[in-house]
């Protein structure tokens, strides 16, 4: 096969690219339906954005190991400053603000923070002397790298994003080989602190969402409404769905946010369980490829970077799907590659770009030439 297909084509990570294109295309279909059959409303910009961001991902993948290592900290610091700037602008402007206006583009620095934290942590542990890894002293800077942006993002307040940052960071720490008992202990501490966080850390509306999640039937017309409608949409799809553009839940506005947070429900109503399996399977392939890239790398920095990026994508997918199926409270986290929205697409495509980059590094290094893709 490698004889027929030209080498530059065969070199590409098709195991990830096929499912990715499939998801984007599928997403365009679902978004067309979410706009009641109107392609221009969401689907068009979805595809245009993807075209832009895939170019960006390819550009990222061209970076060399040294440049990335060199840029890791400066990039992290720059983005952290942007997050702080948003906070200050927001305070001055009165009310919470999450983005910066730069001409026609709105940048949400907290989104960029997710890959940035992973990058900084990977760089940190990649360059940390091996013997230092399980020490408390070495943990302090790492903890600072995670907690600083988290704190500012929480102030916005944006619980979902700060949790995403924490998740990416923790996965890197975990894979960096920190002693397991630290995680166990911090897990116990987290459980103990959860009630405190619930009452002190969460806004009223967030508290309500958590309560609703715990007991959705309590208020079926109020806060439980979204989850119930989402379940109705998914459940009524059945095995093969109601057919393209036939979803009544989304078309008649019963489903909240049919093109962003609840896009999976929109999809499931029209494509059924089959469509759901396809989507989950495609994400599975992408994530599996991501972990494989991480594992195949010989470079500790690259390993951690790839695994962290994979974890970041996974966090989006998992939380969104758990939410639409009633397993998690309603947090505003979109479904990567399918939901309409530039910020999340950008973050996820940065992650994809970084993974492609590591994949390229692996291919260049002699030992990884054996990896089949």
């Amino acid at each position: 096969m490698s004889n027929i297909v030209p080498a530059p084509v065969a070199r590409q990570p098709w195991m990830m690219l096929f499912p990715l294109f499939a998801l984007i295309g599928f997403g365009a279909l679902v978004l067309t339906s979410a706009a009641a059959g109107n392609f221009e409303a969401y689907a068009q910009s979805h595809l245009i954005r993807f075209a832009i961001f895939i170019v960006m991902a390819v550009v990222i993948s061209r970076f060399g190991r040294d440049v990335v290592g060199l840029l890791a900290y400066p990039a992290y610091i720059a983005i952290l400053l942007l997050v702080i700037a948003v906070e200050i602008v927001g305070q001055v402007g009165g009310g919470s603000q999450r983005w910066l206006e730069l001409g026609p583009i709105r940048i949400q620095p907290s989104e960029l923070m997710k890959p940035a934290v992973v990058l900084a942590l990977a760089q940190y542990y990649g360059s940390l002397p091996v013997g230092m890894v399980p020490t408390w002293r070495a943990l302090m800077p790492a903890a600072a790298i995670i907690l600083l942006p988290m704190a500012f993002v929480l102030l916005q307040p944006d619980l979902g994003t700060s949790l995403a940052i924490a998740f990416g960071g923790f996965v890197v720490l975990f894979l960096a080989g920190l002693p397991l008992r630290w995680f166990v202990l911090s897990g116990i501490a987290a459980i103990a602190l959860a009630p405190v966080a619930f009452f002190v850390g969460l806004q009223d509306y967030q508290q309500k969402r958590v309560l609703t999640f715990l007991d959705p039937e309590n208020d079926p017309l109020g806060d439980g409404y979204q989850i119930t409608q989402s379940k109705i949409a998914i459940g009524s799809g059945g095995m093969f769905g109601k057919g393209f553009n036939e979803g009544s839940q989304s078309h008649l506005n019963y489903l909240p946010e049919p093109h962003t947070d609840f896009v999976f429900a929109t999809m499931a109503e029209e494509w059924g369980f089959a469509g759901g399996l396809f989507t989950i399977g495609a994400f599975g392939l992408i994530l599996f490829w991501g972990l494989k890239v991480a594992k195949a790398s010989t470079d500790r920095f690259a390993k951690l970077l790839a695994a962290g990026m994979t974890a970041t994508i996974f966090f989006y997918v998992a939380i969104n799907l758990l939410m639409v199926m009633g397993f998690a409270p309603v947090v505003g986290i979109p479904l990567p590659f399918i939901s309409h929205g530039g910020s999340s697409m950008m973050t996820n495509m940065i992650c994809i770009g970084v993974l492609m980059m590591v994949h390229r590094w692996n291919q260049k290094s002699p030992r990884t030439g054996l990896i089949l893709s």
Binding site: G131, F174, A176, R181, S248, F273, A294, A311
Partner: protein, 696 residues
């Protein structure tokens, strides 16, 4: 265990950490994370499978119930027709608006907006607010019907701001002759909360659906109801209708055809005029009831939304009880109208028509002297009827015993209930010794016979019974009244009288009108048709309170008249009772005009027109004018209506029973009776007896 490297990192941390161990740890932990991701993926997939496949049916149902809104279309009620097929109750297409209290976001504001558009009065608004407060939330409350198109459109465009308001095109019940048929037909209204609880049919709480509430509308409910239609529409979450999915037309209820002659019913109601009374006319060959008018009445058209407080108050305060159906629930001492019937009883007991007595201004019965209203000299049966001589009846009732007379009264329909589709009928009293013993634990006295022999005392009958009696007298058959055109007409049983005997009584009754009798002015102005009849005057209070013809209205005597025509070959029979008319002179002119109308409508109308001019319009016009005047006078301090409209009529019935009891109490007083407005014994030749001679 090994995966997590607990022992190594835990027990001897620093020495064992190397590039290799870290790589190993990374590989192991990556596997863990990969497994975790895969696990969550599996959980999600199985969760989705559970929702979408195992629970599919439930969610499909919920999604459909989201998407599809089923609304019922109230069926058009069947028409109620008169004997010639003209509608007495029909349906009129109109625009209406209801509110559903449960869905009102801000009832006050909503009502404010509606009241601006519809120009509702303060009282009207107060009625609606009260109904909204008292209704169960799901019951629709009617705000208005008969909207014009502009109002309907004005409400329709404001709908997004008015949740719970339901403007509709529908049908409402229409009674073309209004008050004339109020008591006969009844009215319709929305189902009450109790009715809905008994039968939780969603149709009952569909805006615009009405059920029969009284009289024939209630009796024929099942036939008139029809079958509702349904409309399935697709709606958005905010309730906007996207498209019609399917519409099933309603099926109109069957029409019910009555034996009533619509124009006659209306004419009689109008002819009663300012009086309080009733008029019944029957076809005495078939038993068809041609008219049962009871006046004053209410307008059933204005009752269908529930009775307004102003109207209710006006009807309640009227001492002529417009809410009581006097044909079935008005009970009156029959007075002299029973005399011809008593004669039949005498004939049956073997009294010969030419057996005569001497009336010396009265007659001694037992050891007491009882007055007659005049001194009639020698009186035989015919004279006793056309001159209405009391003494004759005192004598022969005493002779044959009142028990026998009472038996005949029952045979002739008095004290009886008839098999008619009406909600209730008061059957009154035909007194006899056993009855008095049972009721008062007292023995029957000669004066009881005297009182009862001239239709006074405990005697109480309703106008329908009088009409039936008249029909039976006229034909000699046991005529049974009925109201439905498609009823089976059974062959009536014949009373055991010879045609001579029947002719004799007919002739005597004809003489009442056409001969030397008491009702000369009742002669029909129609060539070749002569009406026979019998006057009656029933005293309502003892002579010490009132003379019966002047003074306060409610102390005046009732005026009664029973009749049939043509006298020699009776076709129609009937009765007119005018409450407190001051004597039979109030009753027989009405009977005359009604019968004139029946034979010659043009002549009948000619008689009515000048009267109505004098009274201030037709019955509907007067009722409306009265309502307006009352509403203006009442201003804004009007008592609210009882919660259920049924309650209103229950109250009226209860009061009717009370009136009956009072009249029985009166009968217990020992007194000399006077029939035919006989003068008080003290002034046998006073001026009042002169007037009365003219009148009677």
């Amino acid at each position: 265990m090994g995966l997590f490297g607990r022992r190594r990192t835990g027990a001897k941390p620093r020495e064992l950490v190397s590039q290799t161990t870290l790589d190993n740890t990374f590989d192991r932990r990556t596997f863990v994370i990969g497994a975790g991701m895969g696990g969550i993926g599996m959980i999600l997939a199985s969760r989705m499978a559970y929702i979408a496949i195992a629970e599919n049916e439930r969610w499909v149902l919920e999604s459909e119930s989201n998407r599809v809104n089923l609304s019922l279309i109230p069926p058009r009620r069947g028409w109620i027709l008169d004997r010639n097929g003209a509608p007495l109750a029909s349906n009129r297409a109109d625009f209406r608006v209801d509110v559903i209290p449960d869905r009102l976001a801000d009832p006050e504001k909503t009502l404010g907006v509606l009241s601006n558009i519809l120009d509702l009065s303060t009282n009207n608004l107060a009625d609606i607010s009260k109904r909204i407060e008292e209704a169960r939330g799901f019951q629709p409350i009617e705000v208005a019907t008969g909207l014009n198109y502009d109002q309907f459109a004005a409400i329709s465009v404001r709908l997004p701001d008015l949740p719970g308001v339901v403007p509709q095109r529908g049908f409402s019940r229409f009674y073309p002759t209004g008050p004339s048929v109020g008591h006969l037909i009844g009215y319709v209204g929305p189902a009450s909360a109790e009715e809905y609880e008994e039968n939780p049919d969603p149709l009952l709480i569909t805006p615009g659906y009405k059920i029969g509430k009284d009289a024939l509308e209630a009796q024929f409910e099942e036939e008139l109801q029809g079958e509702p239609g349904a409309r399935r529409v697709e709606v958005t979450a905010s309730g906007r209708i996207v498209r019609d999915l399917e519409t099933r037309e309603d099926r109109q209820g069957a029409s019910v055809r009555l034996t009533i002659d619509g124009p006659l019913q209306d004419y009689a109601a109008r002819r009663i005029g300012l009086e309080s009374g009733s008029c019944v006319v029957m076809d005495c060959e078939s038993g068809d009831i041609l008219c049962m008018s009871s006046m004053p009445s209410f307008d059933p058209n204005s009752f269908s939304a529930g009775i307004g407080r102003v109207e209710y108050s006006m009807l309640r305060e009227d001492e002529r009880v417009p809410l009581r159906n006097k044909v079935l629930k008005g009970l009156y001492p029959p007075g002299s109208t029973v005399k011809p019937m008593h004669c039949m009883a005498f004939l049956d007991a073997g009294v010969k028509p030419d057996e005569a007595i001497m009336c010396g201004g009265g007659r001694r019965i037992g050891n007491r002297f009882f007055n007659c209203w005049s001194n009639h000299g020698r009186v035989d049966m015919a004279k006793a009827i056309y001159q209405s001589c009391d003494s004759y009846f005192y004598h022969f009732a005493q002779q044959i015993g009142f028990q026998k007379v009472a038996e005949w009264a029952h045979k002739m329909g008095l004290g009886e209930e008839f098999d008619l589709p009406v909600a209730s009928q008061f059957y009154g009293t035909v007194p006899d010794p056993a009855w008095k013993q049972r009721k008062y634990d007292q023995a029957w006295q000669p004066y009881d016979t005297v009182n009862a022999s001239i239709g006074q005392g405990y005697y109480l009958v309703n106008p329908l019974q009088l009409a039936v009696m008249s029909a039976r007298l006229a034909t000699g058959y046991k005529v049974m009244p009925h109201l439905r055109m498609d009823d089976r007409r059974p062959k009536f049983e014949h009373f055991d009288f010879s045609s001579d005997e029947i002719d004799y009584v007919r002739q005597a009754m004809s003489d009442v009108v056409n001969g030397p009798g008491t009702a000369g002015r009742a002669r029909l102005p129609i060539e070749g048709i002569q009406m026979a009849g019998k006057t009656g005057t029933a005293q309502v209070v003892s002579l010490s309170v009132s003379d019966g013809r002047s003074g306060p209205w409610k102390y005046r005597d009732h005026g009664l008249f029973v009749f049939f025509a043509p006298f020699d070959k009776p076709k129609y029979a009937g009765a007119v009772v005018i409450e407190h008319g001051g004597g039979s002179g109030a009753a027989y002119p009405i009977a005359r005009d009604v019968m004139t109308f029946l034979f010659d409508p043009v002549k009948g109308m000619e008689a009515l027109r000048p009267l109505e001019e004098q009274w201030g319009g037709t019955a509907s016009q007067r009722l409306e004018a009265k309502y307006r005047a009352y509403a203006a006078a009442a201003g804004e301090v009007v008592e609210p209506v009882p919660l259920r409209t049924e309650q209103i009529f229950d109250q009226v019935d209860a009061e009717a029973r009370l009136a009956q009891r009072q009249s029985e109490e009166l009968a217990q007083q020992q007194r000399s009776s006077r029939a035919e407005g006989s003068p008080s014994p003290s002034t046998p030749s006073g001026p009042s007896s002169m007037t009365e001679d003219q009148v009677e």
